[in-house]
Amino acid sequence: MAGGKFLPSRRRLLAGSGLGALLGPLLGRYAYAADTLETARNTHLPLSRKSEMSTVGRVDPEFNGFDPHAMLGDWDGGQVSRLADGRRLREYDIVARDREIEIAPGLRFAAWTYNGRVPGPTLRATEGDRIRIRFRNAGSHPHTMHFHGIHAARMDGVPGAGEAAPGESFVYEFDALPFGCHLYHCHSVPLKRHIHKGLYGAFIVDPDPERHPERKEVARSRLLGTPENADWQEFVMVMNGFDTNFDGENEVYAVNTVAHVYAKQPIRIERQRPVRIYLVNVTEFDPVNSFHVHANFFDYYDHGTTLEPTLRTVDTIMQIQAQRGILEFTFAEHEPGLYMFHAHQSEFVELGWMGFFEVQP
C-alpha cells in the first residue's frame, strides 16, 4: 500500500524531538491503555463468530447464481454415451460469459466466467474416457479452454489453436489422460487478465481400476460411483484471488471465490468418514499459494497422478500457479469441533482464504 502523504515535512522533522520536560509530566499521565484491553474476549467461541478479523456481512448465492458450499461436490460428468468402440464419451456444453459476481459481501467483481460461475464447472471423468467440449464464446473478448492433460496440438486451446472469437464456437476433443487432479483455464492473451478475471476450473480424471491391478483398491476408492468411493467425503477447492482495483495485487483471496465463506459457514464433516480434497491453485500475481489444516496431518498426491502419496504425514503444502494435488486425511480419532484450514500465508488468511471443518459428533 502507498504511504499516506498526510503530514507536512516540517512536522515530520519534529518527530524526533523527544518528550520535553515542559510537558512530560502532563502527557505521561495519559500513557496508552489499549494494552490492557479486556482479555475476556478470548473465549472459546468459534473464531467465525468471535473474530474481528473478517469481512462484514454475507454474500448472496442468489445474486451469484452459484454457492461455494454446493460447489465443493458438484461434479459435472457431462452427457454420457458410448462410442462405437465401446469407450465412454462425455460431452459438455460450456459457455464463456461476462458476468458480475460478488466475491466478498458487497464487493462486486466484473468477472469472465465459464457457465456463469467462478471457478467454472468441475469436470470429472474416468481415465481413458473420450471428452468432447462444445465451447461457445458469448463474452466480449476472445477466449479458449486450455486443458492440463494429454491432447493434440490442435486441441491445445491457445491463440491459433482452438481460440473462439466473441460469438464463435470451438469443439475440443481428447482422451481423459492421465488420471489425476487437473485444471483448465483460458489461454487467450493477455494471459494474466484472462485467468484472474475468472476463466478457470477443476478437471478431475479418476483412475480406471482395471488399468492399475497392483493398486486396484486405491483406484476404486478414487473412482466416482464405486461403493469404496462413496465412503469418502470429497471436496474440490480452487484457490483463487481477485485484484479489484487492478494494481497487480489481489484484494481478495479465497477457495472457490468467496472470501471467508467457509469461515462463516463451516464445512460439515462426518467424523468417521475419510476426507479427500482436490486442491487446485490458480492464484494470479503471487508466486505460490498453500494449504494448511489445523490439528491434523494428511497424505498428499502431487498432481494426483499417482496412487501412492508423494508426501506422507504433512500438514502444510504449497502449490505454484496451476499446480494441484489430492489431500487425504481423517478426523476419525478427533473430538468434534471446529478445525481451521487456510493458506499459510497470513496475508491471504486475512484477505479471505480461511475456513473451518466442523467435525460432527
Binding site: G4, A15, S17, L22, E52, M53, N245
Partner: protein, 380 residues
C-alpha cells in the same frame, strides 16, 4: 431600454432555454462517453481518531455518484466495522466508520476502504497513539504550549519597543524593511501550508481554488476595513499586523496540534522554544509602527494577545484533528491578512524612506527579515 431593444433579448433567452432543455433531454454526451462507463467512485478520509476501542474515520463522499463502502481493511486484513449512517455515501455527505482494533502503540497502521466496485481508498496512521482527549488538564497543558509558541515571543519582540524608539529615520527604515521581510516569509509559509491542507481536503470542496479566492477576498476586505479612515498608521497599522500574524499563528497552532494528534510530534522543550525564538521577530514587526507613538499598557497587551493567543486556539483545534478544509480556510484568511499588512508596511516604508538615498538600508533590512525567519524556522 425600450421595447424595441427588449424583444430580441427575450427571444434570445427563450432560444437558449430551449437549447439547454434539448441538451438535457437528448444527452448528446452519451455519444462521446459511450454512456455506459460509470464515474469512478471517490471518497476522502478527512480525519482519523484513535482510542482504546480502535480507529474512527470521518469519510466524505467525493464522487459524482453515491459510493457504497463494501469492506474495510486494517494492515491488509478484512476487519469488522460499523458505518453510521449506513448505506451509500452521497457526494459531500459525511459518514463515520468505527473499526474495533487492538492496535500496536507507535507502529504504523494502514487503513483501507474498499468500495462495491473494488476501488480502494487508503489512509496510513503513521505512528499510532491515542488521539488526545481534551480534559481540562490537557487544555491547560496545550494552552501553555500555545503561550510559548504565540504570546511569549510576540511580547518579547514588542518589549524591545523602548529600545527601538532610539533609532533615527534610517533605523526605522531598517526595521520597517525587516518587518516586510518577515511578512514576505509568513505569506509564503502560510500559502504553502494552506495549499497543502487543501490538497488533503475532499475534492468536492475544490479547496485549492478556495484558498486563493478566500485569500484575495480576505485581503480586499481587510484592506477596505483598514483604510476606512484613510491610510492606517500607528496603532491601527499595528492592530492590522497583529491580526494577520495572529491568523498565521493560528495556522501554526493547528499544525502543531495536528502533528501531536497524529502521533508524529513529540512535544519537546527545544521544539517549543524553537517556535518561541522563531516568532520573536513577529513582535518586533508589530512594534515598528508604534515607534513614534505613545503606547499604553492595555493597548500593548491587546496587541500581544491578538497576535499570540490564536496559537492556543490553533493547538486546541488541531489536536482534535480538524478536517483539512477548515485548516485551509483559516490559513487562507491569514494569507490575505498578511498580504494586507505587507502592502501597508510597504507603503509606510516608501513614505518613510522617501527623499533618502539609502536604498541599501531597506534592502538589508528586508533580507535580514527573510533570513532571520528562515534561519529560525530551521529550529523547528
Amino acid at each position: 431600454m425600450n421595447a424595441r431593444h427588449t424583444w430580441p433579448m427575450i427571444v434570445l433567452a427563450a432560444v437558449l432555454v430551449l437549447a439547454i432543455a434539448a441538451f438535457v433531454r437528448f444527452d448528446p454526451l452519451t455519444a462521446l462517453t459511450g454512456g455506459s462507463v460509470p464515474a469512478p467512485p471517490a471518497l476522502t478520509i478527512e480525519r482519523v481518531t484513535v482510542d482504546q476501542d480502535g480507529f474512527h474515520l470521518s469519510v466524505r463522499g467525493d464522487g459524482r455518484e453515491p459510493v457504497q463502502i463494501a469492506q474495510v481493511l486494517v494492515n491488509e486484513a478484512y476487519w469488522r466495522f460499523e458505518q453510521t449512517p449506513p448505506g451509500p455515501v452521497a457526494r459531500g455527505e459525511r459518514v463515520r466508520i468505527d473499526i474495533p482494533f487492538m492496535w500496536t502503540r507507535g507502529e504504523p497502521h494502514e487503513l483501507r476502504l474498499i468500495t462495491a466496485d473494488g476501488s480502494t481508498f487508503d489512509h496510513v496512521v503513521e505512528v499510532t497513539t491515542t488521539t488526545p482527549v481534551l480534559t481540562m488538564e490537557r487544555l491547560a497543558g496545550y494552552a501553555l504550549v500555545g503561550l510559548f509558541v504565540g504570546v511569549v515571543p510576540v511580547a518579547l519582540g514588542m518589549a524591545l519597543l523602548p529600545a527601538m524608539r532610539r533609532f533615527g529615520t534610517r533605523g526605522l527604515g531598517f526595521l520597517l524593511a525587516l518587518t516586510l521581510g518577515l511578512l514576505a516569509f509568513l505569506l509564503v509559509d502560510t500559502f504553502a501550508e494552506a495549499l497543502e491542507a487543501a490538497e488533503r481536503a475532499a475534492g468536492v470542496f475544490d479547496a485549492e481554488v478556495m484558498v486563493w479566492l478566500v485569500a484575495i477576498a480576505s485581503f480586499a476586505i481587510i484592506m477596505a476595513f483598514g483604510r476606512r479612515h484613510g491610510t492606517p498608521r500607528g496603532h491601527a497599522l499595528a492592530a492590522c499586523l497583529a491580526f494577520g500574524i495572529g491568523l498565521h499563528n493560528l495556522g501554526e497552532g493547528l499544525a502543531i496540534g495536528g502533528a501531536v494528534a497524529a502521533g508524529e510530534l513529540a512535544l519537546g522543550t527545544f521544539l517549543v522554544l524553537g517556535f518561541t525564538l522563531h516568532n520573536i521577530t513577529e513582535g518586533i514587526g508589530i512594534a515598528t509602527p508604534l515607534v513614534r507613538e505613545r503606547v499604553r499598557l492595555p493597548a500593548w497587551l491587546g496587541l500581544v494577545l491578538l497576535a499570540g493567543l490564536p496559537a492556543v486556539f490553533g493547538i486546541w483545534l488541531g489536536v482534535r484533528a480538524a478536517a483539512p478544509q477548515w485548516t485551509a480556510l483559516c490559513l487562507a484568511i491569514g494569507a490575505g491578512a498578511i498580504a494586507q499588512v505587507l502592502f501597508e508596511i510597504g507603503d509606510l516604508l516608501r513614505r518613510t524612506a522617501a527623499g533618502t538615498a539609502a536604498t541599501w538600508n531597506p534592502l538589508a533590512g528586508f533580507l535580514a527579515g527573510v533570513g532571520v525567519m528562515y534561519a529560525t524556522a530551521l529550529l523547528v
